[in-house]
Symmetry: C2
Subunit: 404 residues, 2 copies
Amino acid sequence: MMTLDEKFSALEAENAPGQEVRQFTGNLNDIMRGNKYSGVPVDFSHGDVDAFPPIPGSSEAWKNGFDKGGNQAYTEYRGAARIRESLARRLARFTGSSISADNELIITPGTQGALFLALGATVSAGTKVAVVEPDYFANRKLVKFFDGEIVPIPLHYQGSPSENGPDLNQIEDAFKSGVKVFVFSTPNNPTGLVYSGNAITEISALAAKHDVTLIVDQLYSRMLYSGEVYSHLRACEIQPENLITIMGPSKTESLSGFRLGTAFGTARLIERMERLQAIVTLRAAGYNQAVLDTWFQEPEGWMEKRIREHEAIRDELLKIFRAADFLTATPQAGSYLFPQLPPLDVEPNTFIRLLRHQAGVTVTPGTEFAPGYSDSIRLNFSQDHAAAVAATERIVKMVEVYRK
Amino acid sequence: MMTLDEKFSALEAENAPGQEVRQFTGNLNDIMRGNKYSGVPVDFSHGDVDAFPPIPGSSEAWKNGFDKGGNQAYTEYRGAARIRESLARRLARFTGSSISADNELIITPGTQGALFLALGATVSAGTKVAVVEPDYFANRKLVKFFDGEIVPIPLHYQGSPSENGPDLNQIEDAFKSGVKVFVFSTPNNPTGLVYSGNAITEISALAAKHDVTLIVDQLYSRMLYSGEVYSHLRACEIQPENLITIMGPSKTESLSGFRLGTAFGTARLIERMERLQAIVTLRAAGYNQAVLDTWFQEPEGWMEKRIREHEAIRDELLKIFRAADFLTATPQAGSYLFPQLPPLDVEPNTFIRLLRHQAGVTVTPGTEFAPGYSDSIRLNFSQDHAAAVAATERIVKMVEVYRK
């Protein structure tokens, strides 16, 4: 087992999205080639909630919660019953399978909170956990924090649609070799790959057969681009005994500033997650919970317009990266691009710091998502369209300047 | 080491404050003596933020945060730099020792969040942790969750002021026997006992000598009653290398619905706590953080009035309990009473459920604060004055009815 020093060294967060302000930039001027670039700075490490503002009425919904006073301030740890009631119905409709508001749903401080509780409820010293590579950076860190053992599952995302997806044979091997928990995101963060209906059905059946707990992070499942199809694990015919689905309104709906998420599924696990929440944060902020009333009941056409606008940005950035010969998969959903950079004269992490210092462009290094992805960068393109295009052009220019 | 089943059984939260709605009340009518009592229901498990509303301007401060948009939604994991800057100055003034806003302060989702992060940063499998009995219920649960080993320290609170306090000899013995972390609250939850200047100086010196990390929860240190003196660990001359102080505006200031807390002290531990926060909840809700601008800058006279009003409730409830011969210590600070009930015909937990069912009075069982306190109950008397008095009279009546 790791010592606390080793554990916290594994949790190093300096390169995590949003933490770039804490980085040391002392020597960058010495190695910088040419001058700084002009242009609106763009922080691709997270979405821009000024360019894509929160669901209309979210601030008013918050105020309604505040005005309710004590009842809304102090809810059950799993969240206010009234809010869970109607939310369970809407989430059931979206995911294709019923949810008991009383026993199968918990409101958490963001989907990060839900992931933490779900892994805390299922992973302890020595638990083997299958983790996809690449996938959301916290998955690996959480397994390490709980002293679990990571079993990596490769994700193919740069091929044709029929080649892409998680390696199902390796999943089966992992399940056979004693894996107890499988955690993954679909749409995948950072690639935007959506697991096919076949992959989802297979994963569900394999988990049922080998008694593996599934934790599926569907954070981006609503932002699905033209022609794409989404498959919900919860709607599969053959299901494992333990299945937790995680969703939240932080991304597509821009409610990140409220820290709201949900997890739903197996009652026994939701109960554990609530017990853990009682010693972690007590509950998602009471007044904020009221904002969930706006979720999955956005004004008509609002979501469709939001998806259309993101698709337009996606298409234009893809064109720029591909014109410059950066291998870049087409995200089927979500607002992440994960281009692969050509060989450079400087270390990838130095290039990323230069990008921020010289070109005013913040991106997240691929190594946050799996070891071995140092030549890739993640962009959250939920940004002002014109600013995102100009910033992407600056990335391409910078790569030319520092190319090997 | 405990299995997950054992661990989550130790985290049982059914009797935790606020969770009473999830209790089974099926058979209470069969054992109830007499009829239900009339009167306004009072929930003493937590403070009533309708009777004592949040700091004036807190909702407006939240709206200012929301209107700032992206900058306020996505802060560093340790909280927005601007807010930490001014808050560090105010907390330093209150606690008598300077705080670096950059390295020594983290904003957390409630003080519960701060406690979780502080123990997560210092406790792992086998770490010996000294825990006071009675003390805040989550302390013990947190140590168990992180697989630490609890070393109990008795607190004397029913004697004269000179007899009261933690057992300093046992603290020294514990530190000598390999305890690495000591966590405690002052004012103590649930008794309202304030650690004396002498006790604080001794604890600090002993921790320095034996290299013990101190985690002190000062949540209630602002609500200090007439004639009482408060001593801050941070202001001691001899200090241990590792000291974290925890405070927040959830109680005295009634901001619980915002889930805001702070921890400040040793930079190395704050850094670890931030790394942990990155995988637990990312950050305290961004917009909510803006409400910290109202903390320690309340309108003139507001805090004094709040303390006066609580002191008046304290005095009247003490009178009622003592007239009925319930042994009840005088809280020196905070809004908790911890009376000891006489022997009853029914199990203490059954009596507590009857109290809720028959008399509309919710209290927290003493066993939440330490094993062996089943004859005591905790009341948070931050309630409407008249309703609290009437409810306390109902408790006394109920005890008469069910007395052995």
